[in-house]
Amino acid sequence: MDHNGNTELRENSFWRKYLFSADHKTIGKQYLWLGLIMALVGGILAYFMRKQLAWPESETLTPNVYNAFVTMHGTIMVFFVAMPILLGCFGNFLIPLMIGADDMAFPRLNMLSFWTFFVGTLLLILSFFVPGGAAAAGWTGYAPLSAKPIYTGVNWGLNLWILSLALEFASVLMGGVNFMTTAITMRAEGMSWFRLPLMVWMQLSAAIIFMLSVGPTIAAAVLLLLDRLVGTGFFVPAQGGDPLLWQHLFWFFGHPEVYVVLLPGFGVLLEILPAGSRKPIFGYRIIIYSTLVAGVLSFIVWAHHMFVSGMNPNLSMPFSITTILISVPFAIVIFAMIATMWRGSIRLTTAMSFAIGTLMTFLMGGVTGIFNGSAAVDIFIHDTYFVVAHFHYTLFPATFFAAFAGIYFWFPKMFGRMLNETWGKVHFWLTFVGFNLVFLPMFRLGMAGHMRRLADPTQYNFLSTESIKSTQIFITWAAIGLLIGQAPFIVNFLRSIVAGEVAEENPWQANTLEWSTASPPPHGNFEVRPIVHHDPYNYSSPDADSDWLPQDQSLEEITT
């Protein structure tokens, strides 16, 4: 019986169990499937864009379709891959298990959240097939390009894009309310705030940042839709509107959104690194405080996207300073992660490989952010491939490396079977090498001044040199390699669900509560409600016999 007394949810029809389920674990897995399928869609769009960029003479895509693919690739990867996997899947699956609860606080709201998300996804896919094609104004939807159908030739495609994002936002808000209520009210006995696994802290921070930042963008989306459907002109200067208003409202959310995605990715690392190094996390409280500081700062950096936008240039330096300062709390978290590995006893599982891979690649994204954050340098590199390289070095590690780390780590708990480790390692190396070969050369393109979002760069003489062209071709082959490199994962994932080695309760000898129940956990999660005795990262404690000490085991129980 769940805590609402709904016994009928427990064991019943196929529909209730697998489709319209209110069980947080099923919903988490539904988000995972949705995110992985959308990742394939986003990847295929990237493949066509890369083919067009390497061989523009092939005319793989017409300029309209190219712009639509650029727009949809960004939208899908941020909102329909990163969000469902990092928040939808990990948040829903792990929060109740990690705090020792039987489900989310509002299981039915949770189900509604997923199906709202699902309808949003369907609308987005549908938008490819309406007359005029999908949205083609960039994932940032800058007005007035996005405000009047005549400017892009896209009519219903862009309207559906707005509607689908609105549904996505509504869904994540419902999820966020659930995350917060659950973590605040349903923690097991002894699970104090500073005994919470950092994954829960990160999910909570992400949910709060999302809730506080999304409002202005929802308002902006409504205004944009009115501009398009009713002809209002909020963002159209000829009608008294202001295009920069859109940018402020969009980036007020758009930048914190980066951290909404990044923090759960960090959460994955902060669980896997201690378990994989057999050491306590280094600086548990410092990490929490740094995250909160970064969360607050993330609300006052948005105009760093607008240094050359035409806003009052006197605004640039204050935003440049806050932006560069945000490197301090993140540097602390990164240093803490390295110190966690330091003098550990590292077990290089696939999950651990992906976690360390996340750290190594994210570092590149972090340090290159300083170039963009400097208002002076941004004058040159703004809207070039330097920026494209930078944000792929931040978002790809979070959305893919950290997500893969989490999938390899929690797959046994989700499906009751292990993923194959050998093929996991193959997948890791193909992804790690492939990713760097794709995105490292893009810095070089950006430093040559190569603008982004060009359907055919060879229209410019300075982008038609042998060196630039061969770099573009190299990147495309690397991207094809990166895409093919995902095949071992797809096969491994599908095969292991039905035929993987059966997982034990705690295959990684980890401490957090989800490892103290069956794999997969039964409906209701725990046979007996756990009582928490320790902080979650008690690895290699001199007081214990083994090198791990589950949160729900008291030392007396072990010694007797």
Partner: protein, 233 residues
């Protein structure tokens, strides 16, 4: 310098300053990047076997291992802010007192149109020399070594004026006229024109929205402008 092969030529009076900030950041973050990656790789190689050490970063002594480096990061951040602030001011905020030439630049899907002041050197008067759509794609002509101010305006959506060699980029927002300035250093006189790019997605023809920038000596430029004026009037 290290990236001379990759950077476009640096031809304006402030392009070198922007490159300087780039290199400053490059060397600072390069140090941290190599240090942190090095520590990770060292740990990966050395800390594999045996029992793990037990320390959790609590207490002043241990937390200082990460807080002191973070304080150094903070100081370096401020240095980068200071250097960047000086250069941003020079490019975008402080316009030179004396402006030699003003040009009105109109961007529209998908082309660039330039209007020069006539003999009175004032824009918006009857002797303006206007190149509109009927004139075709006339390049932007400017005299070398002179301070040029462009007034950027858009007829439809947001465009962005970008000349990589000038290190100058400015979005053009419909409904506003946004001024920018630059001065091409004398030694960068060359026959072959530079390219003006649109750097902001502006519709399906975005990638075709190019114009040329012709840098001439003062005599060549005044001669050219006079010729154009005679043709138009």
């Amino acid at each position: 310098m290290l990236f001379d092969k990759w950077f476009p030529a640096s031809i304006s009076t402030f392009s070198g300053d922007i490159d300087f900030v780039f290199y400053l950041i490059f060397y600072i973050v390069g140090f941290w990047f190599l240090l942190t990656e090095g520590l990770i790789i060292y740990s990966l190689i050395r800390h594999r076997k045996g029992k793990a050490a037990f320390f959790d970063g609590s207490g002043k002594r241990q937390s200082s291992w990460i807080l002191i480096p973070a304080a150094v990061v903070l100081l370096l951040d401020l240095a980068i802010d200071y250097a960047g602030g000086q250069v941003y001011d020079k490019v975008k905020i402080e316009t030179p007192d004396h402006i030699d030439l003003q040009v009105l630049v109109t961007a529209q899907q998908y082309g660039w149109f330039f209007t020069y002041p006539g003999e009175d050197n004032v824009l918006g008067t009857s002797d303006d020399i206007i190149f509109d759509e009927d004139a075709g794609a006339v390049p932007l002509h400017i005299p070398v070594g002179k301070v040029v101010q462009l007034h950027l305006k858009s007829a439809d959506v947001i465009h962005s004026f970008f000349v990589p060699e000038l290190r100058l980029k400015q979005d053009i927002v419909p409904g506003r006229i946004i001024p920018v300035w630059f001065q091409v250093t004398k030694k960068y006189l060359r026959k072959e024109p530079y390219e003006i790019a649109c750097a902001e997605l502006c519709g399906f023809g975005h990638h075709t929205m190019r114009a040329f920038l012709v840098v001439q000596t003062e005599e060549e430029f005044t001669g050219w402008l006079k010729e154009q004026a005679e043709e138009q009037w």
